[in-house]
């Protein structure tokens, strides 16, 4: 049911000559959830659209589903499910009409289609809403309808383009858990685009961090967080400090720093912000360099106090920091 995806030498250049995606190779295992993570304009959506068949790769690039070359296959024949940030539900159809659309255009028998729609309504906790018009739904319900519509025809691959970005924080968290459970229970190969690192960490078997049309690093959330391949990944996945040490410049996570009051300490507290689980302390040294430390909310030094900074963990060994170019 689920298929492996392979991209070989897939790049994408816009007609104007600007490069959206540098040629890249990518393997996604059957049943795996791969998250494409990066800031806007990094090429993550272009990569998703290449897999979907909404964009064609530049000459030489090829896309395979389980070894079958689908490069020339348009999206309507690739049998993929897509979920968009804007939901993209058909306003002229009700909820059941939307969910059953893929079954209808593929010629599934009416009774079988109705059974599948009911199954999807139950799975997405939309029971009783089949006859609702789309305008009458909340944002969270709309996105669940969009998911149900994409899954109903049992696609080979599920592609999600920032599906939660239009929702508010609480709903986002809840729907994220639902999507996670859904992807695991279906065992479907999924590619999930987001700019939100927390979402990426929670959902992906693997994360591909993308920068300027290239995959900067691909690996588990732990890999990216603890062993970032370069400064970009270190800065985009979590917060980092640049710390000058006798051995050279080091990248250190704010939670790996501890503070001790000391009249001879090198840093002055500029600001202490209570964030809930931790207090984010902004420090500055005599040369004006800034440092951010996340410390427990116990006896936190006040602004103006002098402190010494201690390592409480490892510094990040990025390739860039280890071998300065």
């Amino acid at each position: 049911m689920s298929v492996a995806i392979r991209l070989a030498g897939c790049g994408r250049t816009w007609p104007g000559g600007s490069i959206a995606l540098h040629p890249l190779d990518l393997d996604i295992a059957a049943g795996e959830t791969l998250v494409l993570l990066g800031p806007s304009g990094c090429g993550k959506t272009t990569l998703l659209r290449l897999i979907a068949g909404l964009e064609a790769p530049d000459a030489g690039g090829r896309v395979f589903f389980d070894g079958e070359d689908v490069t020339r296959l348009p999206i309507e024949r690739r049998h993929v499910g897509m979920v968009f940030q804007s939901y993209a539900l058909f306003p002229n159809m009700d909820v059941a009409g939307n969910i059953g659309y893929g079954l209808r255009v593929r010629g599934v028998a009416r009774a079988a289609a109705r059974r599948r729609v009911d199954e999807m309504l139950a799975m997405m906790r939309l029971d009783g809403l089949g006859g609702r018009r789309i305008e009458a739904l909340s944002g969270g319900q709309r996105q669940r309808v969009a998911l149900a519509r994409a899954i109903a025809p049992r696609p080979r691959v599920l592609l999600l383009d920032e599906p939660l970005s239009a929702l508010d924080a609480r709903l986002r968290e809840q729907l994220r858990q639902e999507i996670d459970a859904l992807l695991r229970s279906l065992g479907i190969t999924a590619v999930y685009v987001t700019h939100d690192q927390a979402e990426a960490m929670a959902l992906g078997d693997r994360i591909a961090a993308m920068e300027k049309g290239r995959i900067a690093q691909i690996g588990t959330g732990r890999d990216l967080y603890h062993r970032p391949a370069n400064d970009f990944v270190a800065g985009f996945v979590g917060d980092t400090n640049r710390l000058a040490t006798p051995e050279g410049e080091r990248l250190v996570r704010p939670e790996h720093l501890a503070l001790r009051r000391s009249a001879t300490g090198g840093f002055t507290v500029v600001q202490a912000t209570f964030l809930g689980p931790v207090v984010r302390v902004l420090l500055r040294d005599a040369a004006g360099r800034e440092l951010r430390a996340d410390v427990p909310d116990e006896d936190v030094p006040a602004p103006g106090e002098r402190v010494a900074v201690l390592f409480q963990g490892r510094s990040l060994e990025t390739e860039a920091a280890a071998s300065p170019a």
């Binding site: 909404l54 999206i75 255009v105 519509r149």
Partner: protein, 263 residues
């Protein structure tokens, strides 16, 4: 000053103009027909035929214009190519022509010495001439109606969310399926509005018919003939009122169908 009074004062000039230049003449027109005028047009089959052919030409013009404008509008709204701006300018050029010029263009194309006649003659056939008939009139009206319909369709097409089409395609919809299930429903309000304007214009257009031939039996021509040549004021007034009523009825129907989006 109470708000109501101020509002009444503010709306008074518009109301005066509306009364003086619309309601009063319209009322006079309705009355001018007199019992005689209305009896004549209701009993004389010639006028019924004229009304029928007027509505038929208007309906045909609307259908053909909508079909062409939808296809061209969708293409132009989604495709960028060199010369697109020039093409659009050419397509909307007829906006600047009076109906008489449009009629003249139809004669150049399909008249006795027209392009079509000359080509068909050169190919060894008869002269094909259709300028001076209802087909010629239809052609002229279509040409005349395409620009504004096209602009309305393009504006609506540019507002359609391209993701809707992509979602439909990802679910397996063919191009025809996308057109039927996504594009046409999305464009429906604009198409109804543009179609209503197109229909109203085609019902009342006079210049083109006048340029083509006086024997074309559409209502504006009949009214002109009754009014100026035969000084039959009662019948002309009754016909005018009938034409207005028929057009208004069609527009009201269109407005009902589109949920208020039509003009």
């Amino acid at each position: 000053m109470p708000d109501r009074l101020r509002a009444a004062l503010l709306i008074a000039p518009a109301l005066a103009v509306f009364l003086a230049f619309f309601l009063v003449p319209l009322g006079q027109l309705a009355v001018a027909g007199g019992a005689g005028g209305y009896t004549t047009i209701l009993t004389e089959p010639r006028y019924w035929r004229s009304l029928a052919s007027t509505l038929l030409v208007a309906a045909g013009t609307t259908a053909i214009t909508l079909a062409i404008a939808t296809a061209v509008g969708l293409f132009l709204a989604r495709t960028r190519f060199p010369g697109r701006g020039t093409l659009l300018a050419l397509l909307t050029l007829p906006l600047a022509f009076p109906g008489v010029v449009v009629g003249y263009l139809v004669i150049m194309l399909a008249g006795r010495q027209g392009l079509v006649a000359n080509i068909s003659l050169a190919l060894g056939g008869d002269r094909i001439v259709f300028a001076y008939s209802l087909s010629g009139l239809l052609l002229g009206y279509v040409y005349f109606s395409i620009p504004r319909t096209l602009l309305t369709v393009m504006a609506a097409a540019e507002k359609l969310d391209p993701r809707l089409e992509e979602a439909a395609r990802s679910l397996g919809a063919s191009s025809f399926g996308v057109l039927r299930d996504v594009l046409l429903p999305g464009l429906a309000p604009a198409l109804t509005a543009a179609g209503a304007i197109c229909f109203a214009t085609a019902t009342g257009a006079f210049g083109t018919a006048f340029a083509l031939a006086s024997r074309i039996d559409v209502l504006p021509m009949v009214i002109y003939t009754e009014f100026t040549l035969q000084a039959n004021l009662a019948v002309a007034a009754a016909l005018s009122f009938l034409l207005g009523l028929a057009t208004w009825a069609v527009l009201a129907l269109a407005r009902g169908a589109s949920g208020g989006a039509a003009a």
